[in-house]
């Protein structure tokens, strides 16, 4: 187990190197620079600025310098948000993104799993059709459509909840973004849970459990659900990645100061270091999450052993 974990962490290094290298050079070949503005800066000032940020060095030198700093955990200064380092911006934004993302995943599991289980037990009944129809709608209506409609209906027309803003993470401000972010995942999880539950309910060990006289509740809760949860667990990795991408839009719509918004703004503003920082940060996050999900999976399923 420990060896497997170490191996996976070692494998993550080339992945991250690729991410960093691609995004570094992509940003630099882009036309336009961080100091392009409405007003043309005098050439001397621009030269000074470039020197201050080491942008006047040859590209390979800049790359090596960036990598060196990265090894020390230094993402460099932001070009647009003056007086802030990228690390500071990420550390400001991440707790916010983590809060809505984490809550959204939790909500998706709390609602999606029971729905899927109910649909599987009552297969081909009204409950099943209702749940699956709703789930399909959740998949077909993307969150960037749902979110503004939520904001309009609950925020503006009914005025039950604030239509946007963060307000230090107050509960009313959390509701709409978290719900909008989780709906698609609820739909996916409910569908997966239903499919996996139906497969498990048809298997031999469930027949055995019934044959030896267990009541239906025990069959479902003690035997079926545990087994059926496994494929859904392995979906959590992609789900987390999906929530992260989704939050880019959701943060934009609800005006939430998370990392997603920094990323989009940074990309549009050619804020090299900020974009690089967010991409690297998300890369590390996704790699770690996938690893955790895989380890969790092996802990739950005795058939899977990572011995090598």
């Amino acid at each position: 187990m420990l060896i497997y974990t170490l191996k996976r962490l070692l494998q993550a290094i080339p992945t991250l190197l690729i991410v960093i290298t691609i995004s570094f050079f992509l940003m630099r070949v882009a036309p336009g620079g961080p100091f392009d503005g409405e007003r043309q800066l005098p050439p001397e000032i621009e030269a000074n600025l470039e020197a201050a940020y080491h942008l006047d060095e040859p590209l390979p030198m800049q790359y090596l310098r960036y990598m060196g700093n990265l090894l020390h955990g230094d993402f460099g200064p932001s070009f647009k948000y003056k007086d802030f380092s990228v690390t500071e911006l990420i550390m400001q934004g991440f707790p916010v993104s983590l809060e809505i993302g984490g809550l959204a995943i939790l909500l998706a599991l709390i609602i999606g799993l029971p729905l899927g289980i109910a649909a599987a037990i009552k297969r081909n009944s009204t409950v099943d059709y209702l749940v699956m129809g709703t789930a399909l709608t959740g998949i077909a209506v993307p969150n960037f459509v749902l979110a503004p409609i939520f904001a309009l209906v609950f925020g503006v027309l009914l005025a039950w909840l604030p239509a946007g803003g963060w307000n230090g993470g107050a509960l009313p401000n959390l509701v709409l973004p978290v719900v909008a972010l989780s709906i698609q995942q609820i739909a996916y999880i409910a569908r997966m849970m239903r499919a996996s539950m139906i497969e498990v309910l048809g298997s031999h060990f469930i027949r055995t459990a019934r044959a030896k006289g267990l009541n239906e509740g025990e069959v479902i809760f003690r035997h079926a659900i545990r087994t059926a949860l496994l494929p859904v667990m392995s979906y959590l990795g992609p789900a987390i990645a999906g929530i992260i991408t989704g939050s880019v839009v959701i943060e934009q719509i609800f005006g939430i100061p998370g990392i997603g918004r920094y990323f989009v703004q940074g990309a549009l503003n050619r804020d090299y270091t900020l974009v690089m920082g967010t991409v690297v940060f998300y890369g590390v996050l996704i790699v770690l999450m996938n690893l955790i999900v895989d380890l969790l999976y092996s802990a739950l399923d005795p058939q899977i052993r990572y011995d090598d």
Partner: protein, 325 residues
């Protein structure tokens, strides 16, 4: 009658006769809609495609979705010819009016006085073409990559799949966004970028199929006959892996449409004067309070298309998956 217990004969996809095994009860004559020439020469069996089509046509939800999908596609292609307004044509008498029969603004106009129905249909052309081309790109890359990797096996396979693993853990959405920012919002780039992102699952699926297939007798027979490797891959392996591939393509298409809309929504998609459903939705969001139809109309088209594609994908999976027989 529908539940003839015959083995999943993937090697029958090209309409070759089935190995004559098991009695085939006489069937009621079926409309010869999809009959391939070879199928008529093989009365003992049924080509996989025909079998799948029969099963699919019994699935009402899938057939309704297919019909609606075809309708949406036809309307997007032909509709603009019959509408009096052009894509960027401004009606100086109607800025941001709601749906009305007057001046043929059936679904209203946007804030700049452009007819919304016309724009939605043109946007549909873009969104659907992105879906088609990008899915095709991912299909070609994924199938070839997966088939080669699975067929060659050994160290090459290991290396190729390790590469796929690395690609999997890249935060792709961000790289696509970077690409769009860097190279400008070009529709051909969108085709390529999305296609290049979506081939990974396809490669894994095809590799798995290939691994299972390449030990089968007919591949051995091909070897024994001296068929070249490239020909075995293209003529024998890929056609036989086609079932799961079709299922996966129907699931890729909605993903691609969604991805394009997502990019367009962030302002990174196609550029004016071109438009797409994602662009229209994002314009609609800005005008949501004063002109809700601007959000609702393109959202409806997008959602209906995604809905149909998902239903169709589910139906195809049921029709092609041997385990559900």
């Amino acid at each position: 009658m529908t539940s003839e217990s015959k083995p999943y004969s993937g090697d029958n996809a090209d309409g070759a006769p089935l190995p004559a095994g098991g009695p085939n009860p006489p069937r009621a004559p079926e409309p010869e809609t999809t009959a391939a020439p070879a199928a008529s020469a093989a009365p003992a069996g049924e080509s996989l495609a025909r079998d799948a089509w029969r099963r699919l046509s019994q699935n009402r939800a899938a057939m309704a979705s297919l019909a609606l999908l075809i309708a949406i596609i036809l309307v997007c292609i032909a509709g603009p010819w019959f509408l009096p307004w052009g894509l960027a044509e401004v009606d100086w008498n109607a800025f941001g009016t709601g749906p009305t029969l007057e001046n043929a603004h059936f679904l209203g106009t946007d804030a700049n006085g452009r007819d919304l129905l016309t724009r939605v249909l043109y946007g549909g052309r873009v969104s659907l073409s992105v879906a088609l081309v990008a899915s095709f790109v991912s299909l070609v890359i994924g199938v070839l990559y997966g088939a080669i990797s699975g067929y060659l096996g050994g160290r090459v396979d290991n290396l190729m799949m390790r590469f796929v693993d690395i690609m999997y853990s890249l935060p792709f959405m961000f790289l696509v966004i970077l690409l769009m920012v860097v190279f400008g919002r070009n529709i051909f780039l969108i085709y390529a970028a999305i296609g290049a992102v979506e081939w990974l699952d396809m490669a894994r699926i095809v590799r798995g199929q290939t691994l299972a297939l390449k030990r089968r007798e007919f591949i051995e027979a091909a070897h024994a006959l001296g068929v070249r490797d490239t020909k075995i891959v293209t003529r024998h392996l890929i056609p036989n892996a086609i079932g799961p591939v079709i299922i996966y393509v129907t699931l890729t298409v909605p993903k691609v449409i969604l991805l394009e809309s997502f990019l367009s929504f962030l302002g990174l998609g196609v550029q004016e004067p071109l438009t797409s459903w994602g662009v229209l939705i994002s314009e609609g969001v800005d005008m949501m309070e004063s002109a809700p139809w601007m959000l609702l109309v393109p959202s409806f088209f997008l959602a209906a298309t995604l809905f149909c594609l998902n239903f169709l994908g589910d139906g195809l999976r049921d029709a092609l998956d041997p385990r559900t027989r």
